[in-house]
Symmetry: C2
Subunit: 294 residues, 2 copies
Amino acid sequence: MTYALKTYMKDKVELINSQLEQFIYAMQIPERLQASMLYSVRAGGKRIRPILMLAASEAYGEQDNRAMSVACAIEMIHTYSLIHDDLPSMDDDDIRRGQPTNHKQFDEATAILAGDGLLTTAFYTISNNDSLSDNEKAYLVKELAKASGPEGMVAGQMLDMEGENRTLTLEELESIHRRKTGELLRFSAVAGAFIGGANAQQLEEIETYAKYLGLLFQIQDDILDVIGDEHHIGKPVGSDQTNHKSTYPQLLGLDGAIEQKEHYALKAKQALEKAGVDSSYLEDIIDYISNRNK
Amino acid sequence: MTYALKTYMKDKVELINSQLEQFIYAMQIPERLQASMLYSVRAGGKRIRPILMLAASEAYGEQDNRAMSVACAIEMIHTYSLIHDDLPSMDDDDIRRGQPTNHKQFDEATAILAGDGLLTTAFYTISNNDSLSDNEKAYLVKELAKASGPEGMVAGQMLDMEGENRTLTLEELESIHRRKTGELLRFSAVAGAFIGGANAQQLEEIETYAKYLGLLFQIQDDILDVIGDEHHIGKPVGSDQTNHKSTYPQLLGLDGAIEQKEHYALKAKQALEKAGVDSSYLEDIIDYISNRNK
């Protein structure tokens, strides 16, 4: 990761974390429910989606803090999806980022409700931000609902579970990943560019850029599962194979997967050039996602 | 129930049911997820919330079909909350309206995702309706997110579970019901009046009207659990007592509960008079909710 991106991310992560907590503290939420929502929000993570969103908005000249509430809403949606995906009836994960998952720390009912609470709060946070125009609110709510809904992330989790224990084609695999992780990354970049004032053609290029980011994200995830350092990635290496998940290395071989990754990184860079922005951060994010070790 | 309200409800229920299905069919949703969403949406129910919403919008002169998408969004939120509340880790109900609950008919993971899918689709349905202005969309999304979120319905379910197996005060009981059922009834009436063009003072009176409707709704639920006909109400009579739930009859005695109900019905009628509408339907709904036998 470039030093510039590292510094940028560090600054933004602090702002995002503090804002996220403030949004949740500002509401009158029953104690245990609030604690459960805060627990997962605080569990950290790279905050790559809100950072992507902020970088995209700034790339088009957004100067003030209007984008921050949307960035936080995105992270709330991401966090809700992790809580629900970890549930015993779903992926049944006990550990996430080295800590007990929400339902392990609290209980299943509380975890489901914390997820529901974060999902609804995301829409509240956008529609309650008076520095956004009504037109911006309506656009952002619609696109976020689409990205996170039963055509997007909810579909992705459903298809992911249905696809376990059988070998998927590369097309099926990418279709699942597009919905499960790609849609929210796409929304993040597009929402940022939209708030920054990008025009329709630029939004389209940013969308293409984000589409390849999503594919890069997943392919690197799969590669790390084969060659990663267990301590870094926070889950057992080889767990995809144990869980009979279809992966890029399995379908293309490790070398093929790495080659595919480089192809996608190039595509992302080309889209970014066409998007008419001079943002080293957006370009650095491509390399960061391609080469991260966790 | 008056004949006029009966006819009105019958007409509206048909429209609502057909529109609800159309919204879900119009989306590209994985087959099993879509089936699960449709299953619960089709499981019927009285559709009292969307009907209240439509009656309120028409009371203020709304003529066209702009309110229908909001009415459907409300029913999606209601349906999602039933699916999640029925889950084994929550209220653990196997039967709802005489049919297997969603997780019994499908499975737990699918039920959780169907709920998530309906919740997000509600926000999509409002923000995707081009006959609403951006100002209306922003207002409706914000108010719906607040009513359904961790200060509203999600809080209500959390507090309801925490309150089991101990005796609540009347104040605690009403605070839980206000969030669990009252908030969405409130939103339904207020959203309808808002779309119909009510002014700020009228909105406030409609809100008061709806607040008492919510209390009436719950008090009659509790009374039916004591004196109702099992066949009509679709769950075993006396199940609140078996489940150690605090109820109005338990706290006030049966006669006291009936007296309280009449007091609330009067309050609702007074608010309606002040709201400056001449809607026999909104008035009939008070009596309907107070005296329903299921």
